[in-house]
Symmetry: C2
């Protein structure tokens, strides 16, 4: 069975150029803290606070580079703490989602929408997908052999020649199974 | 396939008589807030604070009645917030586990051990277990059909004529699948 590297995503935010300017000042550019698995993507040194009706989190990591729309990805556990009810969505599909107040060192943004629980997915490079007969958007099953083993269903395949092989799950999923970033999952074909 | 009622346990604490006296005063008795699924067990009206090296939680629910040993059950997500690394254990098996500071209205207890991540399990009444051919301590697979479907493996069967049929998972597991207390899970035999 193909083995897939696991990436467990903690809560994070992607910023639009406009919101980056409001939060950090006109013309601000993000600094790279750490390169991520997908080519060109990085965790920035900068963080923001996010504030919901019931709770808030300080030091939420910004992922770069900037994107057309600001998007916040939280776990379901985080969402209960914040007091919001975001849907499970694929990245970029934020219509009708709740917002949060975002606070940076130079300003704040009363985000009207953009908070999602990210749908788990696997990035396949085109050559990996061809080798294993996997189509873009196919739903897959993945075995996580952590301290509390489980099988994830409905893991979305995303195929592109811009992608590196990696499965993205959130902290609820990672903690439920007891797996960490850098460990391997077994794709059940 | 047999359907099993789901109970998602949030972080909670069971107290020894000695620790109850220290936290709430000599001779204190817990008040029932809500009966739980297992006969005689209840969520108390009383709560305590638990304090770890990195973080703390206020208003952690006490479950009654009192037990021989104080035990705190947290999710893995909670444990990271608290800054401790408890093992996944069955209830009552607390040897070698970390402690936490527990604070009540009348005193505090520097608990030396007793924090676990509870191993998921199903309570079967003896007649349910006989009907489905299930043995005490058997490891089972359970299908959770929430918004993010998954199959839990290594779910421990616990069989007794004192038990009511119910599966206990924690908030990481419930949130990873998108299921809530009172919903049903499918036992895969």
């Amino acid at each position: 069975m193909p083995m897939i590297p696991i990436g467990v995503s903690a809560r994070h935010i992607h910023l639009s150029p406009t919101d980056l300017n409001i939060l950090f000042g006109e013309g601000y550019e993000l600094s790279v803290f750490k390169e991520l698995s997908q080519p060109g993507q990085f965790a920035a040194q900068e963080t923001v606070a996010i504030v919901g009706p019931k709770g808030q989190f300080e030091k939420v990591r910004i992922l770069g580079p900037v994107r057309p729309q600001t998007q916040i990805e939280v776990s379901r556990t985080d969402a209960f703490s914040l007091g919001i009810h975001p849907p499970v969505r694929e990245s970029g599909h934020i219509e009708g989602t709740p917002g949060l107040r975002v606070i940076g060192p130079k300003g704040e943004v009363p985000l009207e929408q953009g908070v999602i629980v990210a749908a788990r997915h696997i990035h396949f490079h085109t050559t990996d997908a061809e080798q294993w007969g996997i189509q873009d958007k196919q739903l897959l099953r993945v075995h996580l052999r952590g301290e509390r083993p489980l099988i994830l269903e409905d893991v979305i395949a995303r195929v592109s020649d811009q992608f590196a092989l990696d499965m993205h799950i959130d902290t609820d999923e990672g903690n439920a199974a007891g797996v960490k970033t850098g460990e391997q999952a077994e794709l059940l074909l």
